[in-house]
């Protein structure tokens, strides 16, 4: 008899002694132990519901403060006051080199707003029933916001660009709410830039169930983290902003049970996670190198390529029926008449910059130099500056409209029901005039549009944070400590193995001359010795 079966029998014998069955009644099988409330039993959620806001009003009957909490979050405001740079950022103000900006295209862009009905500049940001609870708390997988519905789900089955969006049963979804999940976060964050894996490169649907080598934390067979395991929410507010990263060692260690909304690696791993064997260089490196630099060796590793170039300047080609031309290569869209030309990359090696966590943006109205690629945003931080660390970035290349008279970036009105929208009229003059007029009207900018436009190369820095690889896949020393390594162009630091004094060739010259002298000296001795021996013979 094995030990295991012995223990089993023993426990069967002891079990009745330990737990008197009549004192702790068994829970019904379907009852979850993770919550004290079963939303299926709530009268308020019986339905039927005809709109999203109706559901929200029902939620608020019990969760009285929830909407007010959400109103304070960036998921709602799309506005972020950057305390270090003084810039007003967030999607309502910042530009990017993917879809440029939201001005005028609200109905489309707000399909990722945690609200209902942001279809123009008159949206009421104080309305509690405009908060969309379900987009984050759905557990059924059936709730979906319609791409052009201003944040509303489809209320009847509706096709969009070849895909059918089924209307969710709102009452059923409401009765099955729960914690956020990779699926709920992913509906927006995996799809940024207009599609799966497009924008970030380190966030795509491969993270729904990634193998260990793609993400060591989210592997369902391993640690099985959800997004909110690290991006912990307190009162509907979370940390983890790319406008101001706080992943610094001084963030401290997160303590369970305490209000802890720190998403930094150090929150769990501490500031000195590496074993010290003979030397402590790895922990010393962590003082000026972000964890991600070595532990995210490449992005777009889950089988989905990410977009690396978006060229708006060639957009607008349509076929005889007036429909935008779409060209594919290896299953990827490389040209779309609506958007222009694209390039994609899988297993993309990031680029590295000094970064203190603060992003500076080129906003509408900010002067640009069109003779060189314009940084739509750029990481701040100087080598050696306290808090500045070497950080990996996906650098997105773009070519987008700018005002050739004022030398400022422009935002085009892309989506809309009127002819000004580029995706309807395909007229840059009208789309840019309309986009900039809306941006001025909504207070996004005071900059004007001269009417003259061109296209300028731009670059955008997306800090890499996700797809953390297992330790055995982390970068090796020589990834950077070599002449042509990953940090070949990084300024401001002496890297052994990479850097040489310009006079070093003289050192080698001295070595080779010495060797040559010695060989010549020895050879001379040998030849003279041989001649003398011959003479003696």
């Amino acid at each position: 008899m094995s030990i295991r079966s012995g223990l089993l029998i023993l426990s069967l014998v002891l079990l009745p002694l330990q737990i008197p069955a009549d004192e702790i009644p068994a829970l019904p099988a379907e009852t979850s132990l993770s919550s004290t409330a079963d939303h299926r039993k709530f009268e308020q959620l019986a339905g039927p519901f005809h709109s999203g806001p109706e559901v929200t009003r029902a939620c608020l009957e019990c969760h009285t403060e929830a909407a007010l909490q959400v109103h304070r979050s960036i998921h709602w405001t799309w506005r972020f006051e950057q305390p270090e740079t003084g810039q007003t950022l967030g999607k309502r103000f910042a530009l990017n080199n993917l879809c440029q900006g939201i001005a005028g295209s609200y109905e489309r862009c707000s399909s990722c707003h945690v609200g209902y009905g942001w279809e123009d500049e008159h949206f009421d940001f104080t309305a509690e029933d405009r908060v969309d609870c379900l987009v984050c708390h759905d557990t059924t997988g059936t709730y979906v916001k319609f791409p052009t519905g201003a944040g509303h789900p489809p209320y009847e089955d509706t096709p969009f660009r070849g895909r059918l969006f089924k209307a969710p049963d709102l009452a059923h979804v409401a009765r099955h709410v729960g914690r956020s999940s990779r699926e709920t976060c992913g509906t927006c964050h995996f799809e940024g830039g207009g599609g799966d894996a497009v924008k970030h490169g380190d966030l795509d649907s491969s993270l729904l169930a990634p193998p260990r080598h793609v993400d060591v934390h989210m592997d369902p067979d391993g640690l099985n983290f959800s997004c909110a395991t690290c991006h912990e929410f307190t009162g509907h507010i979370q940390q983890g902003s790319r406008y101001q990263l706080k992943a610094a060692p001084e963030a401290g260690v997160a303590v369970p049970g305490r209000e802890s909304d720190r998403p930094a690696c150090q929150s769990c791993h501490g500031a000195a996670p590496h074993d010290t064997v003979i030397h402590n260089k790895l922990n010393q490196h962590a003082e000026f190198i972000a964890c991600q630099t070595c532990h995210v060796p490449a992005i777009a590793r889950g089988g989905l390529p990410t977009k690396t170039l978006w060229d708006w300047s060639v957009a607008g080609r349509r076929d005889e029926q007036g429909r935008p031309v779409v060209e594919m290569e290896d299953g990827l869209v490389v040209y779309d008449g609506m958007k222009g030309a694209f390039q994609w990359e899988e297993n993309l090696v990031p680029e590295y910059r000094w970064f203190d966590g603060n992003m500076h943006y080129t906003l509408l109205g900010d002067p640009i130099d069109p003779s060189a690629p314009v940084p739509v945003n750029r990481p701040l931080g100087e080598p050696g500056q306290p808090g500045a660390r070497i950080w990996p970035f996906k650098i997105m290349a773009g070519r987008q409209p700018y005002d050739t008279h004022y030398n400022t970036l422009l935002v085009a009105h892309l989506f809309g029901r009127d002819e000004n929208a580029f995706w309807r009229g395909y007229d840059w003059d009208a789309a840019l005039a309309s986009g900039m007029a809306t941006a001025r009207r909504t207070g996004q900018t005071e900059a004007g549009f001269s009417g003259e436009y061109g296209f300028v190369d731009t670059r955008m820095y997306w800090p890499v944070n996700h797809m953390v690889a297992p330790r055995e896949d982390a970068l090796s020393c020589e990834s950077c400590h070599s002449v042509d390594g990953r940090l070949a162009d990084l300024p401001g630091v002496y890297i052994p193995g990479r850097d040489r004094h310009p006079w070093e060739p003289f050192g080698w010259l001295a070595v080779w001359l010495t060797l040559l002298s010695v060989v010549a000296h020895g050879l001379g001795r040998y030849l003279i010795h041989r001649r003398r021996m011959r003479g003696a013979a």
Partner: protein, 200 residues
């Protein structure tokens, strides 16, 4: 022919232990510098550190020995006889002249050797150790006033420059010490056995 003991057991141990450590340090150091790719960086770093600390330990012991025995005097440079020895290596050695210096237990090194070894001990080795220890302990001083005064690159340049001087020294030393005796390998042999056969 009679045999004279030139090198004590300690001196021979010291010499050959140094040989192993210095060649190991050179090999791993050039790997760290990126001059060759024959060893993984992390391995090279660990071996380099262990060997460097071993060498420093060995030297601390050797300095103690030299002070106690008075053998340090063997390394005091002298100009007397130096031109003759230099002339010998430049000319006499080819024409078969007798060496203008005789090794003895009380005077183990000819004036040229004294000069070279003194240069190694007083300049090259300390330069390597000081710069090497600074590199090893960089994390401890980079945040202090020293970090503001002394860029890491300068320390590294000094370490590499001293390495070139070391390589030049080594090439000359190996050639002269292992091929210019009578017979040609006599000095090498005496560094192994400790004894030198005296020519009558």
């Amino acid at each position: 022919m009679s045999k004279v003991r030139i090198f004590t057991l300690f001196e021979r141990f010291w010499h050959w232990a140094q040989t192993i450590l210095i060649f190991g340090l050179l090999f791993t150091g050039l790997a760290l510098h990126g001059s060759h790719g024959l060893m993984a960086y992390d391995t090279a770093l660990k071996v380099h550190i262990v060997m460097a600390l071993s060498l420093i330990g060995l030297w601390a012991f050797a300095i103690f020995w030299h002070v106690v025995t008075g053998e340090w005097r063997q390394y005091v440079p002298t100009h007397r006889g130096l031109p003759a020895v230099m002339l010998y290596y430049a000319y006499g050695i080819f024409s078969g002249e007798a060496k203008p210096f005789v090794t003895s237990p009380s005077s183990k090194h000819n004036p040229l050797q004294r000069l070279a070894y003194f240069g190694f001990k007083a300049a090259i080795a300390p330069a390597l150790w000081v710069s090497g220890l600074l590199l090893l302990t960089y994390a401890a001083w980079k945040g202090t006033f020293m970090g503001d005064l002394l860029p890491l690159a300068w320390v590294a340049y000094a370490h590499v420059a001293a390495t070139f001087a070391l390589m030049v020294f080594l090439i000359g030393h190996i050639y002269m010490a292992s091929t210019t005796g009578h017979p040609w390998y006599a000095y090498l042999k005496s560094m192994v056995t400790g004894y030198q056969e005296e020519r009558k």
